[in-house]
């Protein structure tokens, strides 16, 4: 009996999950690749491999800045927003390696 109840519950849960996207979940506009103000792609170089973004107000100015970790480097870069909260702007060349303990953050094989 317990098993039957469990299966019914599971089937209901799967059905509920399948119906999810019909109405509950918002849609998204087509993606916009982030650029520097000069139109170049927002990267610190040509060989970056996978990028992992993290939004943060780094300098407490009320505007979102961007931290990006790169698989190839094993390091984290900071891009400071010089625009506004609603319209972030990243000046070309304005990025820096995040430092910790006096050296650039570097993770990975060791």
């Amino acid at each position: 009996m317990g098993k039957v109840v469990m299966y019914v519950y599971l089937i209901c849960a799967v059905f509920q999950q399948m119906m999810v996207l019909s109405q509950d979940v918002p849609r998204f506009k087509a993606g916009n690749r982030l650029k520097f103000s000069n139109g170049a792609d927002l990267t610190p170089g040509s060989t970056n491999y996978t990028a992992s973004p993290c939004v943060v107000d780094w300098n407490n100015d009320g505007k979102q800045d961007l931290l990006v970790g790169y698989f190839y480097h094993g390091s984290v870069y900071l891009y400071l927003n010089t625009g506004t909260v609603g319209n972030p702007v990243f000046e070309d060349g304005n990025y820096q390696l995040v430092q910790a303990g006096g050296a650039a953050v570097q993770v990975g094989y060791s």
């Binding site: 509950d24 918002p26 998204f28 993606g31 992992s52 407490n60 094993g74 609603g86 910790a100």
Partner: protein, 310 residues
């Protein structure tokens, strides 16, 4: 190699710290010893699980979130092969502990997962935290929380996030990492993705599809869950009123001290939104922690718990 950054105040000192997941599956913590305006980080230390390093196998993608609503920051971590794991904090606000006293568990498993990057938020605005998982193939999947906010529960099948034309949202070039944050300051969470080529792409949420934008004149008073929650810079509180009334919306700390009055005026019927930037009535930043939003109109009153995390 491999670097998946995340910021959160992990030691409760009111400054955000830096966590970085790496290729080996461990997580490095860099404590912020600087100021609020100018963070400075001490050398990295590995996050421990019990006596040894917390290790999820390979390619750890951490998210810091109060998973079980106990006021402590927990970790939800995606790994290289198939899993999203939860690590519950059994320590304190100032000294988190992850160990076998509350063993880590698998939140989600799928053998089609590869290099999964999780995100946790209430995307369908039903008051319960949901799970998003991005994949190496460029898909971003949504998992509705079928449990409670305190005990989330998820099951397959996965649902890809959709674009406005109902095509699947796919991060071109694959290798997708992602985070949700309000990029254009419209109060809606947007999707910020990274890809295999090192580019960052932002997918703005379509406002017309947001659940609470479809509302006609509401039938009753309603205080919606704020977004984002937890929040870092600011959060938007939306609420509905059925007829023109005097509305009071006030932020209190957990001891009941009034922090800031956001609304105290007559307002028209319909959906309203108000932003709280985490500042108190003296315009100073409030410290990290749990706060209450209290909405009151005559004898009607409702409360929401919100979490400020820096």
């Amino acid at each position: 190699m491999g670097a998946v950054p995340q910021v959160a105040d992990i030691n409760g000192d009111d400054r955000f710290d830096l966590l970085v997941g790496d290729r080996n599956g461990v997580i490095w913590i860099y404590y912020n010893i600087g100021s609020k305006d100018s963070p400075v980080f001490s050398a990295g230390v590995r996050l421990n699980y019990g006596a040894g390093p917390l290790d999820v196998g390979a390619n750890s993608c951490p998210v810091v979130i109060d998973w079980n609503n106990d006021g402590l920051k927990d970790l939800i971590i995606g790994n290289e092969s198939f899993r999203v794991l939860s690590y519950i904090n059994t320590g304190t606000v100032h000294a988190p502990i992850f160990d076998n006293s509350t063993p880590y568990t698998t939140v989600l498993y799928s053998n089609s997962f590869y290099r999964c990057h999780p995100e946790v938020l209430d995307l369908d605005r039903d008051g319960k935290k949901d799970l998003l998982v991005s994949q190496n193939n460029g898909n971003v999947y949504f998992y509705k929380n079928l449990g409670t906010d305190v005990q989330p529960y998820f099951t397959s099948p996965e649902n890809s996030l959709k674009l406005t034309d109902e095509r699947d949202l796919i991060v071109s070039a694959g290798g997708a990492h992602m985070e949700m944050a309000d990029w254009n300051n419209d109060g809606l969470p947007d999707l910020i993705t990274g890809d295999w080529n090192g580019n960052i792409t932002v997918f703005l949420q379509e406002a017309a599809t947001a659940v609470y934008n479809d509302t006609p004149t509401p039938k009753g008073f309603l205080l919606n869950p704020n977004f984002p929650n937890p929040f870092n810079m600011s959060t938007v509180i939306s609420y509905e009123i059925p007829k023109a009334e005097k509305i009071n919306i006030t932020i209190y700390d957990i001891l009941g001290n009034r922090i800031r009055t956001l609304v105290s005026e007559y307002q028209s019927a319909g959906l309203h939104k108000i932003q709280w930037n985490g500042r108190n009535s003296d315009d100073l930043y409030s410290s990290s922690g749990i706060y209450m939003v209290v909405m009151q109109c005559g004898e009607w009153i409702d409360r929401q718990k919100i979490t400020l995390m820096k």
